[in-house]
Structure formats: C-alpha cells, structure tokens
C-alpha cells in the first residue's frame, strides 16, 4: 500500500472514529452513564492517532511537511482541535460533558476537506518553499484550532446562560419559599463573573447536574482557549508578514487573507478587552467572540473559496 493510500484510509478511519466519539459523548451528556464517557474518550484517542498517522503518511507521500493546501490544513486543524480537547479540557480542566460539540466541529472540518478541498499529495510551487511557511502555517493552524475551540465553548456558554436565565425567571415567578423570607436574588444576572481568572475547576465543584456544565465554567474555558490562541495568532500573522516580505516584496499588501486575519485579530483583541472591562463581561463579550468565530471562518474558508487573492494556491 502506498503512503498516499494509507494516508486517505487513515483519514477516513479518523473521521469515523470522531463520528462514533461524538455520538458517545452526546449519549454521555444525555444519560450520564460512565461507560459512554470512557468509550467516547477511547474512540476519540483512536481517532486522533489515526488522524496523526494520516498526516504523517501524507508527509511521506509528498516528501514535505504536510500542510500546503486546504485539505491538509483541515486535517491538521481537526486533529489539533480534538487533541486540545482531550489534553486540556478533559485532562487539565476535568470538564467532561462538552466533548460531543468539539468532535462535531472536527467532523465538520474534515467533511469539508474531503468533499471540497481534496487534492493528491503533490509538490508545492517554489514560492511556498520557505521555512517561514512551516512556522507561519503551523502557528496559524494551532491558533485557529484554539480559537475555534474557544468559540465552541462560547456557543455552549450562551446556550447555558439562556437556560439558567429561564430557571431564574421560573424561580422568580413562584412565591418565595417562606423559609428564606424573601425573593430569590434574581437581580444578580448569571452572566456576571466576578473573577475571569479564577480556576476553571472551582465552578465545577457544585453537585453535578444533567446537561452542560455551569455557564461560568464554559465562559472560563472559552476565555482560556481564546487567551491561549490569541498570541499564537499574532505570531502566525507576523511570520506570514515576514514570509510575504521575502516572497512578494512587501510585508503587508491587504490581500484578502491578510485583511481577514487582521479583522479576526481585531475582533479577538476586542473580546479580550471586553473581558477586562466591567459591564462587558459575560454575554456581551461572548457576542464579540461569536463575531470572531464568523471572521475566523471567513479567514479560513471563504477567502479561499470566493475571494480571489494571492492565497488562492491554498485551495
């Protein structure tokens, strides 16, 4: 079997493993039965291994680092998102119920890659033959995966905030329990997070309930991922500028990909500032992160698909 064939077989294996892991994760979210979670994690790790194997085989087949076009970027992006989830969210922050959404994102990315972007392992144009390519592309994909994961948590956070608000309003409409001698404190909105930097685990300590983790936990997870991804994004854009200076003779030329990476940078910078500003925390900041999510996807997909520019070789 050739390396190219092995690569696409492993790609499919990873895709199916992620689908299975997604189903198992959602089953765990719904029924809270331990075996579902263990199975989801196991299958998830199998998927990541297959994904890594596919990427390595692709590199062997093409005799270069396997991130030179959109298909390869997407495969790497899915791999990093799942890896970030398994290592950071499951391993470090011990949040176990959000895996299904992360797997769903990875599946979406990989499905787009096979259906729209597939190309065989080929040589690159000489302009791409620079070590800045390795640094630029690697950091952009790592940053994209971190920011995208953060945005998945932002969406979950907004969903959870809605349901928490509904609970509060239900409590409010009921008569106050006589023993408390007063109304439920419904005026403190649930999106108010006093310390954004508090440990993620602290908010998970209350008795586990069905459904998603508390909104405060999701908010902090989102913040952690975006905070981690933002400097890497900055670094990646700068490396791109250095490479552009070498190859195209200018470090910045308002090429659509450059423009959109700048727009994404600005939006996430606004998010980080909003998080540090009283009155903008919570849902407002989350709204900015959602705009950032859209911009991230315009940068990643739309620019290549619909807007002509110098980055079209990444098709």
């Amino acid at each position: 079997m050739t390396a190219a064939r092995l690569s696409s077989d492993l790609f499919n294996a990873a895709l199916f493993a992620y689908i299975a892991a997604m189903v198992l994760s959602f089953a765990y979210l719904a029924f809270r039965k331990r075996p579902f979670h263990v199975a989801a994690l196991t299958v998830g790790w199998i998927g990541v291994s297959a994904n890594i194997g596919s990427i390595v085989a692709r590199g062997v087949a093409a005799h270069r680092t396997p991130w030179g076009n959109m298909y390869e970027f997407s495969s790497l992006l899915a791999c990093l998102v799942v890896l970030a989830y398994l290592v950071l969210v499951e391993g470090r922050y011990k949040v176990q119920t959000v895996g299904g959404f992360v797997f769903a994102f990875a599946i979406f990315t990989m499905a787009l890659a096979t259906s729209f972007f597939y190309v065989g392992p080929t040589d690159l144009l000489p302009a791409l033959n620079s070590y800045w390519r390795q640094i630029h592309v690697t950091s952009m994909i790592v940053a994209t995966s971190l920011l995208a994961t953060g945005c998945v948590f932002t969406i979950l956070y907004l969903v959870k905030v809605r349901s928490e608000r509904r609970e509060v309003s239900v409590l409010r409409s009921q008569d106050p329990p006589p023993i408390l001698g007063g109304s439920v404190d419904a005026d403190a909105p649930p999106d108010y997070v006093p310390g954004a930097d508090e440990p993620v685990g602290a908010a998970t300590s209350p008795a586990p309930r069905r459904g998603l983790p508390p909104s405060a936990t999701l908010d902090r997870l989102a913040y952690r991922f975006i905070q981690f991804g933002f400097p890497i994004w900055t670094f990646g854009v700068m490396c791109g500028a250095i490479w552009a200076q070498q190859t195209w003779g200018r470090y910045w030329g308002w090429d659509p990909k450059e423009t959109w990476s700048f727009i994404t940078w600005v939006i996430f910078a606004c998010y980080l500032h909003a998080r540090a500003t009283a009155g903008w925390r919570g849902t407002k900041a989350a709204g900015i992160a959602l705009v950032g999510f859209v911009s991230l996807f315009v940068t990643y997909y739309a620019v290549n698909l619909w807007i002509a520019g110098l980055h079209t070789y990444a098709k």
């Binding site: 080929t122 040589d123 144009l125 000489p126 302009a127 033959n129 620079s130 006093p194 310390g195 930097d197 508090e198 440990p199 993620v200 685990g201 602290a202 905070q227 933002f230 400097p231 900055t234 670094f235 700068m238 500028a241 250095i242 200076q245 070498q246 190859t247 195209w248 003779g249 200018r250 470090y251 910045w252 030329g253 308002w254 090429d255 659509p256 423009t259 959109w260 700048f262 727009i263 600005v266 939006i267 910078a269 606004c270 500032h273 500003t277 620019v303 807007i307 002509a308």
Partner: protein, 518 residues
C-alpha cells in the same frame, strides 16, 4: 480605551469592505467591470473611495484618530505605572482576612525572622519593603503585567508610525531586464506600474542591475522548482559593486533597495534590415498569456517590432515557440504541453502595413493596418518578410511538417529582412524601497513580547508579620493574587515552605489556611 477599540473596529470594518469590493491598486480591471455592470453603486463607491479603501482619506483619518486616542490613553497609564514602580509596597494589618493566610511558630527572634523572610521573598523576585517597626514585610510582584501591556500598546503605536512612514516614503515597481542588459533605478525605467508613497520625494537611487544570466528549473511534471537571476549590482555611477543571485524567497538588498524575483520570459534578439540599413536590432520582450486552462508555460510568447520611420509604416507581430518538440506534442495530443526548454526555437511572424496607432510595444492596434505576409523564422535564419521566404539559414532541428519556403534563386534582393540570431531570457524583478522594514519588525517583536508578558504574568501581594509571644515568635504570612488565582494557590504553599525552612519554623504549627479565592 473604548474609543481606541471602536476605532480599531472601524478599521476592521473598512478592511472587510476593502476585501469584498475590487480594489484599484490590486485589480483595476475588475473595478472597471464593476463600474460597467453597476453604474449607480459603482459611481457611489468610486466617489466614496470604496475602490481604494486602504488609500482613502477616511481610512487615513481613522488611523490618525486611532493614533491620537492611543497616545492619549497611554501617556497617563505609563505615568501611573512609573509611579507604581517607584512606590514601595504598602504594609497591611489584618493578615487573617486575606484569601491565603498561614501562621506558624519559628525558632528565631522576630527581627531575624523578618530579615530572613525578606531574603526569601527577594529571591522569589518580589519587591520588598520592611515595616517601620521592623516586625513586618510587604512584598509585591507582577509589574510585568502592566509593563507588558504598555509595551504592547506602545509597540503597536510604533508599528503604525513605521508602516505609515515606510509606505509613505518608499516605492515599489517592476523591472524587466533581458540577459546581458543593465537596468537603472529611475522612475521611467519601471514597467509602468511604479507605486510611490504619498510623502515620497520622487528621488530614485540610480543604482543599476545588470542581468548576467537567468535560470529556471522545472520538474519533469512542468511544475517550477526554482527561478534565479544572476545579477551584477552597480552603483549610481555605473561602477560594479558586487555579484549576487536573486531567487524566489531570497531577495537581495542593495543601496536601500530590496530586489525580488517576480517573473520571467523569453526575449529573442530580432534584427530588421531594410534599404541597406539596420532598422531595429535588439531583444523583443515576449509575453506569455495564460489561456483558459491557466497553463502559461504552454502558451506561445507574443511580441512586436514596430517600424514607424518607414513610409508607409510597418509592424511585425511575432509569436515565439521556444520548444518545438513540446509544441508538436501539444498539437498531436491536443493537450497543451509546457515549453520549459529551448529545443529548435522558431517564431511565426506577421507583417503589417499601414498606420501605427500606438507606439508602445505591449500590443498592436491593427485597425488601420493590413496584413502583408506571414511565415516562420527559425533561430539563425534570415527571412524576406515581405515575401515570407527564407533567405539564409538551415532547417536545423526544426520538426518536419513546418513549412520552410526558400526564396527562389535569382530573385531581387529583399526590401525588408528579419533575422533571429539568438534566443535569450529576461527576468522581471520587483524593486522596492521601504526604509522602515527593520522598525516594523522590531515593533512586531515588541508587540508579541508585551502581549505574552501581559497575558501570562499576574500581580501578587504577600505580607509577613512576626510577633513575639510568650512561647516564642509567631510568623504570619498572608497574600493574594489579582490575576491567575489558581496559580497562586499552588505558589503560596511553596513560598510558605521556603519561609518556614529559612526561619526554622514548623515546631508546634498553628496553621489556618484561609478560604480559597471565591
């Protein structure tokens, strides 16, 4: 800060518009098409500067406002930070009330314990101040957070300035140089697309680039591997300074200029003689148009020779096939083959007579001209252009099937001859002057360092008090972190352990760990 963010958001919005609408500097032809297709919106956008967003007055205005807002925000913040650095940590009293608090007995007298605690804290990079009564220490750490944040913002400002100055005073354009020729940096020598900055003095360096050799290498699949121009660089007086090689991804710096490999093509030497005089002698720069399939290398090169001094005027349009083997293969297979080697090159020529409407060599307007003759000319041949027959030159390795009509013996001397003695290549280099590139790079590095420092450091405060009790000395340690509280939760016990080891504490502990941060 909010103003700056709004302005930054406006810049982002404007950039989004700029990436969605065609822009004059990048694709003027698409702007023209837009104006034809949508006359109303097109005119509106044109007036509003939406077809040149990044060069429009309002984009500059927002940038300038952002600049002012940043300065207005940063100066007071920097002052406050300098004050904070000079200020000594403030003493605290109620250590029990702090989120982290420990008390234990130590073996040494209070003064010694305080002395040693200071040393421990200093070693851990805290800024330390002793209480006036000598029984307490206040310590702080984490100036890096605000320093980093300020570094980031000042560097962003520097970046903005450097970009504006660099783009404003610099210029960039393309130079076409045929092998063996020398090009000089002067405004009229560029290919007509010279872009100069707004504050440019219009002065050029006068430096020269002499192309010794151009080399292109391809894989067998026709995918390019490398392009390199071997050049000799000359100073403004024309004296050679050094030899260098301009390659893809390997630009060359010279006399404040950056020279980049941009393109390449064929340049056959064409000699036209008529009436005993040489009418034209020199390389003809050939342009290869990528066809519908986008395979530029499979397309023949196109070039023109114009003879406006003759009456009536003549022009010759030329079509170059550099690789006749690949050309024949294309004809047989129907699939255009890339022509990457020189194998029996030849040109198809067409002689036109009439009035030349456009003196430029980029194209030929034949509306007032008529075709006189056509034919082919191989390398090393001389042909009678008017009669379309070969005067001298052997068929060489030219493929069979290509018509080669020899002029009949005893015919009168041709009035106009065309010779193709040599096939050369030309290189297209991008020549740019941007004096602030190093500053932009420096600012970018500072932005990154500041960002990481601001995000991954945290402000922490620790106090130590030693009190003499009847049974010995009790050391109280309290502290809290303003950011990254989970890290401090791990750091605080280690700090306490160090203090305990330094003061000989630990005997008969009375430890009351304060409630963890909410």
């Amino acid at each position: 800060m909010r103003t700056a963010l709004v302005l930054l958001g406006l810049l982002a919005l404007a950039s989004a518009v700029g990436s969605l609408l065609p822009q004059i500097p990048n694709s003027p032809e698409r702007v023209g098409a837009y104006l034809v297709d949508h006359p109303f919106w097109g005119q509106l956008f044109l007036r509003g500067g939406f077809f040149d967003v990044f060069g429009s007055w309002w984009f500059s205005l927002v940038t300038a406002l952002l600049f002012v807002s940043l300065v207005a925000c940063l100066i007071p913040r920097s002052r406050a930070m300098l004050r904070a650095i000079r200020q000594r940590p403030v003493q605290a009293k109620e250590l029990e009330a702090l989120p982290h608090h420990v008390a234990f007995e130590v073996a040494v007298p209070p003064e010694v314990a305080v002395e040693r605690a200071q040393r421990v804290l200093r070693r851990r990079m805290y800024r330390v101040a002793a209480a006036p009564d000598g029984r307490g220490v206040a310590a702080e750490k984490g100036v890096l957070r605000e320093t980093g944040s300020l570094t980031f913002h000042w560097a962003f400002l520097l970046l903005l300035i450097a970009v504006v100055i660099g783009k404003g005073t610099g210029y960039t354009g393309h130079a076409t140089i045929v092998e063996g020729q020398t090009w000089t940096d002067a405004a009229f020598n560029y290919d007509g697309d010279l872009r100069t900055g707004r504050f440019s003095s219009g002065q050029h360096t006068g430096a020269g680039i002499h192309l010794i050799d151009f080399e292109d290498r391809f894989r067998t699949s026709g995918i390019p591997m490398d392009f390199a121009s071997e050049v000799e660089l000359l100073d403004a007086n024309g004296n050679p300074v050094r030899r260098d090689e301009v390659r893809i991804n390997h630009p060359v710096g010279f006399d404040g200029l950056r020279i980049f490999q941009y393109g390449f093509g064929w340049a056959p030497i064409v000699v036209v003689r008529g009436g005993g005089a040489t009418l034209s002698d020199g390389p003809v720069v050939m342009v290869q148009d990528a066809g519908a399939d986008g395979n530029q290398l499979a397309a023949p090169g196109e070039g023109f020779v114009k003879l406006p001094t003759l009456r009536p005027q003549y022009a010759i349009s030329l079509e170059l096939i550099p690789d006749s083997t690949a050309f024949i293969q294309s004809l047989i297979s129907g699939v255009p083959q890339p022509m990457t080697q020189v194998r029996a090159p030849f040109m198809r020529y067409t002689l036109w007579q009439g009035r030349i409407l456009d003196p430029s060599l980029n194209g030929l307007d034949t509306r007032l001209m008529h075709k006189v003759s056509t034919g082919i000319v191989g390398r090393g041949w001389t042909v009678d252009v008017e009669h379309g027959c070969v005067v001298s030159g052997t068929s060489g390795a030219l493929p069979k099937g290509l018509a080669r009509t020899v002029c009949p013996a005893g015919a009168p001397a041709p009035a106009l001859t065309l010779s193709f003695p040599e096939l050369r290549q030309y290189t297209r280099l991008q020549v740019s002057k941007d004096p602030t590139v190093p500053f932009v790079l420096g600012a970018a590095i500072l932005i990154l360092l500041g960002l990481v420092a601001a995000m991954y450091s945290s402000r922490r405060k620790v106090w130590v008090r030693a009190e003499a009790r009847e049974e010995g000395t009790v050391l109280q340690v309290g502290g809290y972190a303003l950011q990254r509280k989970d890290r401090f939760e791990e750091e605080f016990p280690k700090l306490v352990a160090d203090l305990r080891a330094a003061t000989g504490g630990g005997r008969r502990e009375r430890e009351r760990e304060g409630a963890a941060a909410r």
